[in-house]
């Protein structure tokens, strides 16, 4: 509405005045200014008229019979509630204390006799402005309250939906401890964990830029990719590439997600680490001592275009009883009243001093509290212990098909050549295919582990010619994976052939897997003859394959592995 229309808008004005002549004069003046007029002869009438007609402005004589103006003003203000109904006292009162009484009773202004139409018009206008201002403030306050409730409700819904997605994971596994505010999602903090089909554990601790819903929206697609790809058997590298590409595509510029991902293999006792922008995580030695930092070597997810994204992970050997400790920036970036940061050094001292793993979180929180003297709600902590694989029981994969159409007599062969080996992981596709065989589903984990092992042996020792003896200690381990990445990038020839053969066998059936590579082969009898302790970190693969499958043989001087799985008739 224009200012002009505002000026002209007619108000309903209540005039309460004891003297008939004054009342008549005032009513005429106000009416001539374009307003509607209600008149009362005393306070009681004025209050009754107000309750009935709700005028927007009241002109009130102070001294009236029956009920005076002071009492009438109090009652009218009470009836008006939060709305501002301006009251102008009509008075020739000259004593200070009488004017004070008018204000105390709720009067907003005075009009002295004799009346001046010009001054009265100006006062009505000023009071109307005030009244509108108050109405606008109330309206906006209510609007803010509505928006706030709406926002809270949206957050509740978003959190409920997200919890459904996030609970698909294995944060409740017996070797995981974590601490996170229930509303961490709206601080942009994200914690996900899931078992791969082979029984490995993928973990993600992430931190989106920003706060509130904007920080939470990205969590949904990220969790979907994480769980979806982990369940299908994809490795960390493919999952990372997909997550980065997805976030890059959907998030606005300037919004991204710092993340630390782990792939823990309890079978092979190794952990794969990728840290993009998160504070250092730590590998804590079993008996206490210096923690090994898991340093950020990458930009966060959602920053780089897919072709520039670096999915290189670090691989570290693990020992029983060691622990991985991850944390959000709420810990190290906590500042005290002098803006000094808690920092990495204080954290490391707490980690080194820890003797009882179960008390670590409490010790960290205590150190934070002592440092700044108040608690903060954006601290996420995660602690994963390295345990025997059988301690963990990955939930069975749930299949949605009936099994009636399960194919039982077929074979196929793939040959993956250099360009493909560089950038493509065929395992999820092969495993997906094998899941169609119902009889094999009970051995799904073993099948995944064996196929993964055979493929990485063929790639690393075969095609890339890496010597597993390098992996005899932790330093060699790091060197091994560095050389692996270098050789893989430089690869221009070589192949891996995978052949799968499925045959019916009485009531059940069997699967024969052959994996052949273009490498130099190895002395099979010598490697298999090594004692377990001699094999150490490097020989675990072959033993694992032999333990998990029904039959495992190596032919062609180790260049071809042949492994058999079998199943009985299904009940």
């Amino acid at each position: 509405m224009s200012q002009f229309a505002h000026d002209l808008e007619a108000l309903t004005v209540l005039i309460a005045e004891d003297g008939a002549a004054d009342r008549l004069l005032l009513a005429t003046i106000v009416r001539k200014q374009g307003h509607q007029v209600l008149t009362a002869e005393n306070g009681e009438q004025a209050v009754a008229l107000f309750a009935q007609q709700r005028p927007s402005l009241v002109l009130l004589d102070a001294l009236m019979p029956v009920m005076d103006g002071f009492e009438a003003a109090r009652q009218i203000k009470a009836l008006a509630g939060e709305a501002l109904v301006p009251i102008i006292f009509l008075t020739s009162l000259s004593e200070e204390h009488a004017l004070v009484r008018c204000l105390e009773a709720g009067g907003d202004d005075f009009l002295a006799k004799p009346y001046s139409p010009v001054i009265l018009a100006a006062k009505i206008k000023a009071m109307d402005r005030l009244r509108r201002l108050q109405a606008t403030v109330l309206e906006q306050r209510d609007q803010i309250a509505r928006h706030h409730n709406h926002l809270l409700n949206e957050q509740r819904v978003a959190k409920a939906v997200f919890d459904q997605v996030a609970h698909a994971g294995c944060l409740s596994a017996s070797n995981i401890r974590y601490l996170q505010s229930p509303y961490a999602l709206f601080n942009g903090d994200l914690l996900l964990a899931a078992f791969t089909p082979a029984g490995d554990m993928h973990v993600l601790l992430g931190d989106f830029t920003g706060h509130g819903l904007p920080a939470a929206v990205g969590a949904m697609p990220l969790a979907e990719v994480f769980y979806g790809m982990t369940a299908k058997g994809y490795g960390l590298a493919e999952t990372l590439r997909e997550m980065n590409a997805k976030l890059k595509r959907i998030l606005p510029v300037g919004m991204f997600c710092c993340a630390l991902l782990l792939n823990l293999s309890f079978q092979r006792r190794v952990v794969e680490v990728w840290n993009g922008g998160m504070p250092d995580g730590y590998l804590l030695p079993a008996g206490g001592g210096e923690p090994l930092p898991l340093i950020s070597r990458h930009l966060p997810l959602g920053v780089l275009a897919p072709e520039r994204f670096n999915d290189t992970t670090e691989v570290l050997p693990l020992a029983l009883g060691e622990r991985l400790f991850l944390l959000s920036d709420g810990v190290v970036d906590t500042s005290d009243e002098h803006d000094q940061l808690f920092g990495v050094e204080r954290l490391r001292r707490v980690l080194s001093a820890n003797r009882q793993p179960a008390l670590l979180f409490e010790e960290v929180l205590q150190a934070l509290e002592q440092f700044r003297g108040r608690s903060r709600d954006d601290v996420s902590l995660l602690d994963i212990e390295v345990v025997e694989p059988q301690v963990l029981s990955p939930p069975p994969v749930i299949y949605s098909d009936s099994g009636q159409s399960s194919p039982l007599d077929w074979s196929l062969q793939f040959e993956f050549r250099a360009e493909t080996l560089k950038r493509f992981n065929p395992l999820p596709y092969l495993l997906q295919l094998l899941q169609e065989i119902h009889g094999l589903r009970a051995q799904g984990g073993a099948l995944h582990s064996v196929l993964t092992e055979l493929y990485s042996n063929a790639l690393e020792h075969g095609v890339l010619g890496l010597d597993s003896a390098l992996k005899r200690d932790a330093q060699g381990f790091a060197a091994y994976y560095q050389v692996r990445n270098e050789r893989l990038q430089a690869l221009c020839d070589g192949f891996i052939r995978v052949s799968l053969r499925v045959e019916p066998d009485r009531q059940g059936g069997r699967l024969i897997i052959e994996v052949e590579d273009s490498g130099q082969g190895f002395n099979v009898s010598k490697v298999l003859a090594r004692s377990v302790s001699e094999q150490g970190l490097c020989g675990r693969g072959l033993n694992l394959v032999r333990r998990l499958s029904r039959r495992a043989e190596w032919a062609d001087e180790g260049r071809r592995a042949c492994v058999e799985f079998a199943w009985e008739a299904l009940a």
Binding site: G19, A20, L25, L93, E95, K113
Partner: protein
């Protein structure tokens, strides 16, 4: 008409504001004033007297009866602050001033009706 009783400018402003209601305003004022005068005479307490003086002061000031309004103000002040001696005299003065003023307003009524 003597200017010591009535402010002529106020009257012409009132006529301008009231237009056709001017005559009614004059008549209403005269009726109102009779009521105020009897309240002055019949007041049973200082409060009642002060209240009547206050109201009469207000309406006569609105009507431009400046001398009457001034007498009412003196009466109100005297009742509120004392001394109470001479109050009777003040009320009598108001009576006399009102008689004079009433004649002037009646003449004004005549003038307006004949227009």
């Amino acid at each position: 008409m003597s200017d010591s009783h009535i402010d002529r400018e106020v009257l012409s402003d009132l006529q301008e504001v009231m237009e056709d209601g001017y005559l009614q305003l004059l008549e209403t004022f005269l009726e109102d004033s009779e009521k105020r005068l009897s309240q002055l005479h019949e007041a049973k307490s200082a409060d009642e007297l002060a209240h009547a003086a206050h109201s009469f002061k207000g309406s006569s000031s609105n009507m431009g009866a400046v001398a009457l309004a001034e007498l009412c103000r003196q009466l109100e002040d005297r009742v509120n602050q004392g001394p109470l001696q001479g109050i009777e005299d003040l009320i009598n003065q108001i009576d006399r001033e009102y008689s004079a003023v009433r004649a002037l307003y009646r003449a004004e009524c005549q003038r307006v009706s004949s227009e």
